[in-house]
């Protein structure tokens, strides 16, 4: 597997964008209570701001129906004196915005989900994070090194496959690593791919009540220091895709040779680019018309 090209940074000034999964269906059944989770995360965020005066932390809440910014350490504090009591101010600002967000997100739910936890809008918060980072890039050559940390517990939503992959490729182009810390019960194929493709770190902590230790040992590492430190490597990556027609996860299907859209069954023409496909071969024929999506090694 080819190493991911990364920018060479000479100092440790970081911009950390944290995507916080707030899906209430997930949190109501999670092994770690949301309040304990928040206390680990808040201490972690404060530690990032502590180690370098120029570090910046932004938090985006990933809800079921919406996403929004809930904290930005660089925004001018209303009362400059709070700068010194940073932690209480950080806590109260963030928690207040978080509560407003969750209430608002819940109101947007049109119907009660029949079964299962349902997914959260990872694609939305990833996109918002990348837009914010693009703006930072444009402030000039002296910008903090940006990276994204996804704190995700909800399962992947296959209907978000295309949007998530687009965000991942965009992050790869901009050389913004996406770190993943999975706190749900199952692994996330989306996040495994995201971290693999962008050169970030993927981790599913074994013991969630030690979350701060995982965060400080692995995810607090700035991009400059990653050249020198051992970080968890992926054991294997789940490269399965979703079909564009039904959003089902598949590992064998049809691909348009013009735009590489994926379909689970034969169509007359591609719904993405409009190319007309040739005659369908009946099943059981040679495998030349059927392309299997396999991971490139």
């Amino acid at each position: 597997m080819a190493p991911v090209p990364s920018k060479l940074y000479s100092d440790d000034v970081s911009l950390l964008v944290v995507l916080l999964d707030t899906n209430p269906f997930f949190w109501s059944t999670a092994s770690l209570p949301f309040s304990k989770f928040l206390s680990h995360v808040l201490a972690f965020l404060n530690s990032i701001l502590l180690i370098n005066q120029l570090n910046q932390v932004v938090v985006i809440a990933t809800g079921c129906n919406s996403c929004n910014f809930i904290f930005d350490s660089s925004s001018v504090p209303a009362n400059p004196n709070l700068e010194n009591g940073r932690m209480p101010a950080l806590c109260s600002n963030l928690l207040q915005k978080l509560e407003e967000f969750v209430t608002g997100d819940e109101k947007l739910s049109k119907e009660v989900l029949a079964a299962g936890i349902g997914s959260s809008l990872l694609s939305g918060s990833l996109s918002m994070a990348l837009c914010y980072i693009q703006r930072v890039f444009r402030t000039g050559p002296l910008h903090p090194q940006p990276r994204i940390l996804c704190l995700q517990g909800s399962p992947d939503g296959p209907e978000q496959y295309v949007a998530v992959m687009n965000a991942i490729f965009s992050a790869q182009r901009s050389m913004v690593p996406i770190d993943s810390c999975v706190i749900g019960a199952q692994h996330s194929a989306f996040l495994q791919q995201a971290s693999y493709i962008t050169g970030g770190v993927y981790l599913k902590p074994q013991q969630l009540d030690g979350l701060f230790q995982y965060l400080s040992t692995v995810f607090a590492t700035d991009l400059h220091s990653r050249r020198f430190l051992q970080l968890p490597k992926p054991a294997g990556v789940d490269f399965r895709a979703s079909c564009f027609c039904h959003k089902n996860t598949i590992d064998m299907g049809y691909i348009c040779s013009v735009c590489l859209s994926i379909f689970c069954k034969h169509h007359k023409k591609c719904s993405t680019c409009g190319s007309v496909f040739g005659q369908a071969q009946s099943d059981g024929n040679s495998a030349t018309d059927r392309k299997r999506k396999t991971p490139e090694t």
Partner: protein, 319 residues
């Protein structure tokens, strides 16, 4: 210019050379812990975060496993720095294996700082009392003006009127190494003196601070107290007024010297008097860190400022 890195590192060397008990006493102040943390190389900062909640010593061998081959020299530098500043304490067990753990005082206070945040021992005064507070621009102009006055007195050979309140013996301490001090000869700028004039303001300030602190014992002042106060001052808010009566007697005397260096401005109200930290004071902890590349932008204004100062001063000197 890498000068700030070198000078500031020397400051940390000076902190490191304090006796163990004094250093431990310094670490009772959470702002000192934060300033020291920020001054360390990136790998050392990382190690502190990782070890923050670990109560048992970790073997040096285990720590080496954290590092890739590329990082080994940086690893050694980080560990050495941590030991030098007594942030890491070293123990050897019966098997002669070295282990490290965080200095317990440092550890407890940093944990507290992380969870509860740091609170300064003084609050800014309410604005209804502090009328006539200078604007940030005026304050910056004042600070640089004071600093220029000090520099002028520092390198002047013929100045008869005193521009600052520093005693002549104190000025001689500052001038050591920068001016030749030979009998029956007018003092002249040495090579180091010229280099000093070319450094940016923060580097010059650190140099003077270092001399001021090194000399403190002769003046009957505890260097640890002085370092503690200076670092704490750097965490105050620029432009805010803090009541003088929140300072100890020693701190009040120190403040008078700091006025001459442009670090604080003193003002008097009807009943109370207060001090206002300038940017020169609050930038102190920032320039402590190893990363000097970004400071080029921050100090751009200082470069313009000091290059004209150097011009003025060396003109004065050569004349």
């Amino acid at each position: 210019m890498p000068q700030v890195k070198i000078i500031a590192k020397n400051f940390m060397d000076m902190v490191a050379s304090l006796p163990a008990m004094k250093l431990d006493a310094l670490y009772h102040n959470t702002f000192i812990c934060e300033a020291i943390l920020r001054s360390l190389p990136p790998l050392a900062k990382k190690y502190i975060l990782q070890m923050l909640y670990i109560d048992v010593p970790v073997t040096a061998k285990a720590m080496e496993e954290w590092v890739l081959a590329d990082g080994f020299s940086k690893h050694r530098v980080a560990i050495d720095r941590l030991i030098q500043l007594r942030v890491f304490t070293e123990t050897s067990d019966r098997k002669k294996e070295t282990s490290y753990r965080l200095n317990p005082t440092f550890q407890t206070n940093l944990q507290k700082h992380l969870i509860y945040g740091g609170v300064l021992p003084r609050e800014p005064m309410p604005s209804n009392i502090t009328v006539r507070l200078p604007s940030l621009d005026d304050l910056e102009a004042y600070a640089l003006g004071q600093w220029e006055c000090f520099l002028l007195q520092l390198i002047s050979s013929t100045q008869t009127e005193k521009l600052t309140n520093f005693s002549s013996s104190m000025m001689k301490v500052f001038q050591r190494g920068l001016l030749t001090q030979r009998e029956k000869e007018a003092p002249r700028l040495t090579e180091s003196g010229f280099q000093f004039l070319l450094m940016d303001t923060n580097a010059q300030l650190w140099y003077i601070m270092r001399e001021y602190i090194s000399n403190s014992e002769e003046r009957g002042v505890d260097p640890a107290d002085l370092i503690s106060f200076l670092l704490e001052l750097s965490f105050h808010v620029t432009g805010e007024a803090y009541n003088i009566n929140t300072l100890t007697e020693f701190q009040r005397n120190t403040i008078k010297d700091l006025v001459d260096l442009g670090l604080v401005k003193l003002q008097q109200g009807r009943k109370e008097s207060w001090f206002i930290p300038t940017k020169l004071a609050t930038n102190l902890s920032m320039s402590l860190s190893d990363t000097s590349s970004r400071k080029q932008v921050v100090h751009k204004t200082n470069y313009l400022m000091h290059s004209s100062t150097a011009h003025v001063l060396s003109n004065h000197y050569i004349a």
